[in-house]
């Protein structure tokens, strides 16, 4: 197949702890509340809510994957910005730590005193499971 040169766009992924990724990419696939969404060059400007899951980035023909927690995505004319609470590459993930975290969070979910606490624990659990899934996939 004669693949034509694909246009790239600027992608910025930022978390409160660090600037996770910044650069030109050809495609981005994220998990949103209404399912997976692919973003290419010149996608219509939009704002959507990001869900915990595995995010796929294609850069120079190579797919990269990262586990993200909840946040939001804004697609604007001059680039795409992903803001998320945490984001990690597969090699940064430590399965043992995650196992511990999951146990702790499940405990917290059971003991939650309010709907808010329950919701928080649930969201964090989802983020940890996404990390674990990515880790198992890449191993």
């Amino acid at each position: 197949m004669g693949e034509t040169e694909e246009k790239s766009f600027k992608l910025n992924i930022v978390t409160p702890e660090r600037e996770f990724f910044s650069g030109e990419v050809q495609s981005l696939v994220v998990n949103t509340v209404s399912g997976e969404m692919g973003i290419l060059y010149r996608t219509l400007p939009l704002v959507t809510v990001l869900q915990s899951g595995i995010m796929k980035i294609r850069r120079n023909g190579r797919w990269m994957e990262a586990a993200n927690s909840d946040g939001f995505v804004s697609v604007l004319k001059d680039g795409v910005t992903v803001l998320t609470q945490s984001c990690e590459w597969p090699h940064e993930i430590d399965a043992d730590i995650i196992d511990k975290e999951i146990c702790e969070l499940q405990e917290r979910e059971r003991k939650a005193k309010s709907a808010y606490e329950y919701k928080m624990a649930k969201a964090q659990l989802a983020a940890q499971f996404a990390k674990l899934k990515l880790k198992n996939k890449s191993d």
């Binding site: 910025n12 930022v14 978390t15 409160p16 702890e17 660090r18 600037e19 949103t32 509340v33 209404s34 969404m37 219509l44 400007p45 939009l46 704002v47 959507t48 809510v49 909840d70 946040g71 939001f72 804004s74 604007l76 004319k77 910005t81 803001l83 609470q85 808010y116 928080m120």
Partner: protein, 296 residues
């Protein structure tokens, strides 16, 4: 002339104090470096969140949401005031708390979110009750604390308990300078954002509408708490970086002062000792001379 034992006591107490201040200085150096590196890595997020939200405000037309309502004159307002948990940080707490108080004077029905032990105490002694107090959130801020605050704030705003929300914290102004700052979190005012963007970016955006997936209401109701969390966390981090660097400089100057004081005290002590030695000597000499005189 002072008593030798008095001077000795002072020297002892000052050198003890100096030990404490220099230990605190050493600790604060480490803490400051940690806080500063956290601040550096958070800066991008803090700024991106602000920029993204202002872009959303710019490009959103015809979407009705409470957060887009204009600022009410004399409305009920909430203030998140961030100070530190511990004192001994120079003018750090005083500056931000006095600033906060002057800002709150004008508000009709201020609701206070007090962050940090010093902040709780300051307002309690002035008979201003804090709606929500986070007594130990400022020393080592975490995302989950910021998320809790943002959730509470958002609920109050949507429920109509407050009409606006501000955050007051100490801002890093670069080159070790810091100053108290007030930022409006809610609501977003379009006119102000447009103005701000024209000034800062200087480029004309063709106003086109943004799509919301799945719907504007749903996106905004999830996005705004996250925006608040990001802003609050950023402010907490900045404030803690400022606290540690201000404690560092306060302790540094305290140690220098103690050293200077010790030097002059030591001089005084030596002088007093010398004087007493001289006095004793002359006494002995006089006595012995008197003795000789008697013998002859």
């Amino acid at each position: 002339m002072k008593n030798i034992t008095d001077i000795k006591h002072r020297i002892k107490s000052i050198s003890d104090t100096r030990k404490i201040t220099s230990a605190m200085e050493t600790i604060s150096v480490v803490k400051m470096q940690k806080a500063l590196s956290r601040y550096e890595s958070n800066k991008a997020y803090f700024e991106t969140v602000r920029k993204t939200i202002s872009n959303i405000v710019l490009y959103t037309k015809g979407v009705e949401h409470k957060v887009f309502s204009s600022v009410k004159e004399n409305g009920k307002e909430a203030f998140i005031v961030i100070a530190s948990d511990k004192g001994l940080a120079g003018g750090f707490n005083h500056a931000v708390l006095e600033f906060a108080r002057s800002q709150m004077l004008g508000a009709r029905e201020p609701h206070l979110f007090a962050v940090g032990q010093m902040c709780c105490e300051f307002f309690a002694s002035r008979k201003i009750a804090a709606d929500v107090a986070f007594a130990d959130a400022s020393y080592n801020p975490t995302i989950s604390e910021a998320a809790e605050m943002s959730e509470k704030l958002y609920k109050m705003f949507i429920g109509g308990v407050i009409d606006g929300a501000y955050i007051i914290f100490t801002e890093m102004a670069g080159h070790g300078k810091m100053s108290p700052k007030k930022i409006r979190l809610l609501p977003f005012e379009r006119a102000e954002v447009v103005h701000e963007n024209e000034v800062s970016a200087g480029e004309e955006f063709a106003l086109h509408e943004l799509e919301y997936e799945p719907s504007a209401e749903e996106v905004l109701s999830l996005l705004i708490p996250q925006y608040l969390t990001g802003m609050i966390y950023g402010a907490l981090i900045q404030s803690s970086a400022c606290e540690h660097s201000s404690r560092h400089s306060a302790m540094n100057s305290a140690t220098t002062n103690a050293s200077r004081l010790l030097e002059s005290l030591e001089l005084e002590y030596n002088r007093a000792r010398q004087e007493s030695v001289t006095g004793e000597l002359s006494e002995i000499i006089t006595a012995s001379m008197g003795g000789y005189g008697n013998c002859e």
